[in-house]
């Protein structure tokens, strides 16, 4: 037995929903694992914690932090205590995400063709056209199977009453899935037998599901189209993920300079000459993809790839121009989209969002700035964000000025407290705030979501920012029957 009573010494944060412990004690789906965890000797636990860190560093499972000198490689901190979700709750999340993605996908099709949603006055045209990620170049482009959002990561959080909210839709190049896979493979080693005993649903078929979808998009008449993963290169913060996915799917990992376009067809340069490419799973952002169409100074893209795509000679995943659907100001309209396109009530709630270009909403937000989270509509990764209740007077003032100057670039939301989950820190279980990013794959056969996803955790005490670039870490996520 351990010298520390993990259960009784685990104290909750007041006003915050805890994933493991409710008012009546440990929640049912945590009981089995908690019992096993209690029985681990504390020395043994420290060894496991060390082992986890070592496994990450020696395997080079690192991410690179932007704008910090020479590009420092860090390990994405891993907390050994898994986050557990019961099956019934998962069914709810799953159906909510499927509904949401269905609507967002129709929205993308619509906004890049007939624009019924604008004509019917559901979304103001100005909002769409002022979005920097809206690509006119995508108007009337025929996209295979009308799928835009092949791979998406939907960020979910829970408020104080435990209800789920969608915080963000990531429909461009969401990352983190390799951590979901690695975290699971480390859990196997840390807690032998616990995964089968808890009947944890597997996540390992993610690469197979993705590959199946990618192959289905190849439109040449070959039994096995050539699929590649396009990476910006080794200096990208998610490079580890790119190599992992390429390895697991058995496809070539290419950089922009490996590809050439000839007569609107895409080829890769091999030692045996050029080889035709049919499907590109790209992890390069839209604006860098084709220097002839987008940023002319881009070294990461492939000149001419846009026209090859338009002609239907190559499939690009995700489609270009998805940024208009995960823009933080457009986010406010997703519930309306669901009603408009699907005639259904949204299953998952949106965080109430104030759009700063509306005078009333802006005035309200500016008055109550210390109770708001302010975000830039076009940024992610926890950058360009203000959390009202922890910000200094100076920061509040600066943000207020910036909002006045360019309101379209900001939204404001009430501060959601974020649920907490137990983390093993300094030999004790301590509550830390978490979110959840399930990864959804849309293919010709519909939307599939691997059970679980990536739980990100704000390891700093009291923090609610979970992004890896801002001191966040991750946990293995178990969906248990």
């Amino acid at each position: 037995m351990t010298d520390f009573d993990f259960y009784n010494d685990y104290s909750l944060i007041s006003g915050v929903f805890d994933e493991m412990k409710g008012e009546d004690g440990v929640r049912k789906h945590y009981e089995l694992f908690m019992a096993a965890f209690q029985n681990i000797n504390s020395d043994e636990m420290s060894i496991k914690d060390e082992l986890a860190k070592k496994l990450f560093l020696t395997q080079g499972i690192t991410f690179t932090v932007y704008s910090s000198g020479e590009g420092i490689e860090k390990i994405f901190p891993f907390d050994i205590y898994p986050r557990i979700i019961q099956a019934a709750e998962w069914e709810f999340i799953e159906s909510g995400i499927k509904q949401r993605l269905k609507a967002l996908n129709i929205f993308l099709k619509d906004v890049y063709s007939h624009q019924f949603i604008i004509k019917d006055g559901i979304i103001p045209a100005s909002l769409i056209y002022s979005c920097p990620n809206y690509l006119r170049e995508m108007m009337n482009v025929e996209v295979p199977f009308n799928i835009y959002t092949h791979i998406s990561g939907i960020d979910l959080i829970r408020d104080h009453d435990g209800s789920y909210y969608v915080l963000e839709d990531n429909l461009r190049t969401p990352s983190g899935v390799s951590y979901m896979l690695e975290n699971r493979s480390i859990s196997y080693r840390l807690f032998p037998n616990q995964i089968p005993e808890n009947k944890v649903r597997p996540v390992s078929d993610y690469p197979d599901l993705l590959m199946k979808n990618l192959l289905a998009l190849g439109n040449r008449h070959t039994s096995r189209p050539t699929v590649v993963l396009l990476t910006p290169g080794i200096y990208n913060s998610a490079y580890f993920e790119h190599t992992t996915l390429a390895r697991l799917m058995g496809i070539e990992l290419v950089e922009g300079r490996d590809l050439v376009v000839d007569n609107h067809k895409v080829y890769m340069r091999t030692t045996k000459g050029l080889k035709r490419v049919d499907v590109i799973y790209r992890r390069v952002d839209d604006e860098f993809l084709d220097p002839l169409i987008f940023r002319p100074d881009s070294m990461l893209g492939v000149p001419g790839i846009y026209h090859a795509y338009r002609k239907g000679n190559v499939a690009i995943i995700n489609a270009m121009g998805n940024g208009v659907a995960d823009d933080k100001a457009v986010y406010a309209y997703v519930p309306a989209m669901i009603k408009y396109y699907l005639n259904e009530e949204p299953i998952l709630k949106n965080v109430p969002t104030l759009r700063m270009e509306n005078d009333d909403e802006r005035a309200h937000a500016l008055e109550n700035l210390h109770q708001m989270v302010v975000k830039r509509t076009n940024e992610s990764g926890g950058y360009g964000m203000l959390i009202g209740n922890t910000a200094t007077e100076k920061e509040l003032k600066e943000f207020a000025e910036e909002i006045q100057k360019s309101p379209r670039q900001f939204i404001a939301q009430p501060i959601i407290s974020l649920s907490s989950a137990p983390c093993y820190i300094d030999g004790k279980l301590q509550p830390r705030r978490v979110d959840l990013r399930p990864f959804a794959l849309s293919g010709p056969d519909g939307v599939e979501i691997v059970p679980g996803g990536l739980t990100r955790v704000a390891l700093k005490e009291g923090s609610i920012v979970v992004n890896s670039s801002q001191g966040g870490g991750s946990k293995d996520t178990w969906v248990v029957d």
Binding site: T58, G60, I234, T271
Partner: protein, 309 residues
């Protein structure tokens, strides 16, 4: 295989081979300096590794070693070579084994460890060099045991032998210039002996020519001895062997060019006999070297993409 990946593997291998040879030369050189032999001049070593530029002020052996091993601002330092080897490996991660990648990743973290630098300035440089050489040996072992014998393995080996040839030629060249290819005094004997040690050839030499140190015999061993793995003849034949294995994966034109350029280097070696004439020896080395650059050029143009069509 992607041209870029082939190039990455080729260069990964070259950087490690270069590192290994340089470490051994430095190790021998340092030991010779402790022996008090007069031909050891650290200022010259510095200049050699500083693109011909002399140091502003005279430097100690440890300072020069620190510059060559750990200085990030020195383009050709060992730490930069390891960094590049690792970056190349990283770009080719899906074509080398995980174990090999981890070995280079470890090597990189190892050489950046501040303790190692402290050990150099305070402790014994030989043990620092030994530890680094051991990392190289680990790399060779892992390549041998874990790398699959596919196309990548052939690029790895062609890179390795090209680099070995260039390093050997440069090293022998300097030794001939230093001694004029002859033995005038006892110091020249010491110098030639250390030269053999630095290219791992002293024991082999003793087996065949015990008791004499004869520059002409050493020259012959380094050029023609097929049982000596650092000889030019052996390395060219290995280069040829791995290049031949690329045939099935090459365009016909590319392979023809490659075969021709390697064949020419082999022919120059075979059908020249410079004897003990120092100038003829240097001319032969230069001729082989420029042909090897030709081989690299063929790889660049026909395999690595600058002209892949």
């Amino acid at each position: 295989m992607l041209s870029r990946v082939a190039e990455n593997i080729f260069w990964m291998s070259r950087y490690i081979e270069r590192t290994n040879m340089q470490l051994r030369i430095l190790r021998t050189y340092y030991i010779a300096s402790q022996d008090g032999v007069p031909f050891v001049k650290w200022d010259e070593v510095f200049r050699y590794y500083n693109q011909g530029m002399p140091a502003e002020k005279s430097m100690s052996a440890n300072q020069v070693l620190n510059f060559i091993l750990f200085d990030r601002d020195n383009e050709s330092s060992v730490v930069n070579n390891i960094l590049r080897a690792r970056e190349n490996a990283r770009s080719a991660q899906d074509h080398i084994t995980k174990e090999l990648w981890q070995c280079l990743n470890d090597f990189y973290h190892f050489i950046r460890d501040k303790n190692l630098q402290r050990q150099l300035s305070l402790g014994d440089p030989v043990s620092v060099l030994d530890q680094l050489i051991r990392q190289c040996m680990l790399y060779y072992g892992i390549v041998d045991i874990s790398m699959f014998r596919s196309e990548g393995f052939n690029y790895l080996n062609t890179g390795k032998y090209i680099e070995r040839l260039l390093q050997i030629i440069s090293s022998l060249n300097m030794q001939i210039v230093r001694t004029n290819g002859e033995i005038k005094d006892s110091m020249d004997i010491v110098s030639w002996r250390y030269f053999l040690v630095s290219i791992s050839g002293y024991e082999y030499y003793l087996k065949s020519h015990s008791g004499t140190v004869n520059p002409a015999l050493i020259f012959k061993q380094v050029l023609y001895e097929m049982h000596f793995p650092h000889s030019i003849a052996y390395s060219i034949s290995q280069l040829n062997r791995y290049a031949q294995r690329l045939k099935a994966e090459s365009l016909e034109e590319s392979y023809d060019k490659l075969e021709f350029s390697i064949g020419k280097a082999a022919a120059i070696l075979k059908y020249n006999s410079p004897g003990s004439n120092c100038e003829a020896q240097l001319a032969l080395l230069q001729s082989i070297e420029s042909n090897l650059f030709q081989v690299v050029q063929v790889f660049n143009e026909y395999y690595f993409g600058s002209l892949v069509h």
